[in-house]
Amino acid sequence: MTTSKAENGRNLKEAIIEGLIWFSGISAILIIALIFIFLLKEGAPAFVNVPISSLLGRRWYPIEDLFGLLPLLIGSLLVTVGAVVIAVPLGLITAVYLGEFAPTWQRELLKPLIEVLAGIPSIVLGFLGWVVLAPLVQNMGASTGLTAFTGALILAYMSLPTIISITEDALYAVPNEYRDGALAIGATQWQTIWRVVLPAARSGIVIAVMLGIGRAIGETMAVMMVTGNAANIPSWRTGLFFQPVRTMTATIAAEMGEVAQGSVHYSVLFGIGIVLFLITFAINSLATRFVSGGDGRATRRRAQL
């Protein structure tokens, strides 16, 4: 069989297009590799030039070459733990409401509203936290309104859409036969949800919580505006959550603009970037493992949040 010239031309054109499509497909792998390589390139000198004992120190004071990461790690940890403790119960219960209790018209109305919340820029929430929430927290009796607690509140609010949507998807995936079966043997709706639906949706809920954590730990601007940015380790005595803290993300955002390129301080900030990259990478990869059978819908859902 002979092929015409036009057909040859078309074959070549399609081969090029399909080549480009293949390249786009694998580009995600290239990009994530490049991100890590560039972080390493700029950040690795930090782990060479600054002794590990210094990096593990309790004082972050770059002017005196003190690069103790402990206060920043503790700052991020406090704010994230606070946010998770607030957001997880609220998010799970709201998802249960949307998925199991709410009539259809409410669901149609509320789901877009939660998308709106996901779309509010973090800087706008940070701004509100700064002008409205912080004074309220101060009125509660803290010495300042800019505390880990304030940051946790804002962050909780910001990670709610992630937790709600993924939990709701997980509830939706539970077959209706489970509910019908439980109701048929005389369980109340609440017993059905608590004893049957939630356990069946367990893995999805775990993913929701993990990704909520991932979201919270990486947030930058809002946290920078409301946590007071003091790089010290809060003490138990004065109320762990009611003192200013400084997170890893806020440290990078606040200080990168002022450092000389290539300086030790500069590379330590990139080093913090490496730590953040590895933490979120671990959380997201682990969450992917929980999806039985791997990829598909759940993965896509997550990439959209």
Binding site: S24, G25, L34, L113, I114, S122, T280, A303
Partner: protein, 281 residues
């Protein structure tokens, strides 16, 4: 407590929590509208800031955000749609594909400030673009990629496989089938994803901090190698870095940013709703 009582208590509690979660969303929107409304004026949209940014308008910041959003679109749309087509139409179920999906999930999970660091290291310094619209757009574009890929893939997958089978059986090639049958039907869904992704990019601050954003720059950028002001960073600057800033201007700026982002989100939602109504399969 009997089972019936606990059912009642649970219903009340769950509903109450849902209200506690959802009510603040309304409050935030209403509050910013109420506080920022009075700042909006013709001058606010058409003049650069004056007098230490305490007077005048937002023109350079609004245009800057517009340019960055356009740049983000150019940087992310072709690659995003290409990757979506690959995953939906070509990718075999193998190790490489799972690796791609893992990479996409992780791209979505990387903190925005880390994207900012990468943009600084790769685009500003290594490729020597300097702090510029180009560097900022590329950084935001990479960040937007996972949203576009995943929504576009979903849209492409939702096109019934009969369409493909018929097209292929009529002698069309694989690419002709995708180009003429699949993509046109997936287009509204793809558009929704693009708009949602861009609305996120428009509101981001951390990725543009070191890659493009200018503290104060009343002139408009002349090329993609210039710095520019941008609304999110401007809001950060005037609310925390400039003492004595009138609160009204701060709320007004927050409102303008919110309006831009919410308008985009609304457009995306409307496109999606129309698409669902029109769908014939």
């Amino acid at each position: 407590m009997t089972r019936q009582q606990s059912q009642k208590v649970a219903t009340v509690l769950v509903t109450a929590v849902a209200i506690i979660v959802i009510l603040p969303i309304f409050l935030v929107l209403v509050y910013i509208f109420a506080q920022g409304w009075s700042a909006l004026s013709w001058e606010f949209f058409t003049q650069p800031p004056r007098n230490g940014m305490t007077e005048g308008g937002l023109l350079p910041a609004i245009l800057g955000t517009l340019f960055l959003t356009l740049g983000t679109a150019v940087a992310s749309i072709p690659l995003g749609i290409g990757a979506a087509i690959y995953l939906a139409e070509y990718a075999p179920n193998n190790r490489l594909t799972r690796l791609i999906r893992l990479a996409i999930v992780n791209l979505a999970g990387i903190p925005s400030i880390v994207y900012g660091l990468f943009g600084l290291g790769a685009f500003v310094l290594f490729l020597n673009f300097g702090t510029s619209i180009l560097a900022g757009s590329l950084t935001l574009g990479l960040m937007t990629l996972p949203v576009i890929i995943s929504t576009a893939e979903e849209a492409i997958l939702s096109v019934p496989s009969e369409f493909r089978i018929v097209s292929l059986s009529l002698g069309a090639t694989r690419w002709q089938t995708i180009r003429n049958q699949v993509l046109p039907h997936a287009l509204p869904g793809i558009l929704t994803g693009i708009i949602l992704g861009l609305s996120r990019a428009a509101g981001e601050t951390a990725p543009i901090l070191f890659t493009v954003a200018a503290f104060y720059l009343p002139e408009l950028p002349k090329s993609i190698f210039d710095q520019t002001m941008a609304l999110p960073y401007h809001l950060y600057v005037i609310s925390t870095q400039v003492p004595g800033m009138p609160l009204q201007i701060q709320y007004g700026t927050a409102l303008v940013l919110l309006l831009i982002v919410l308008t985009l989100t609304l457009v995306a939602t409307v496109v999606r709703t129309i698409m669902r109504r029109r769908r014939q399969w």
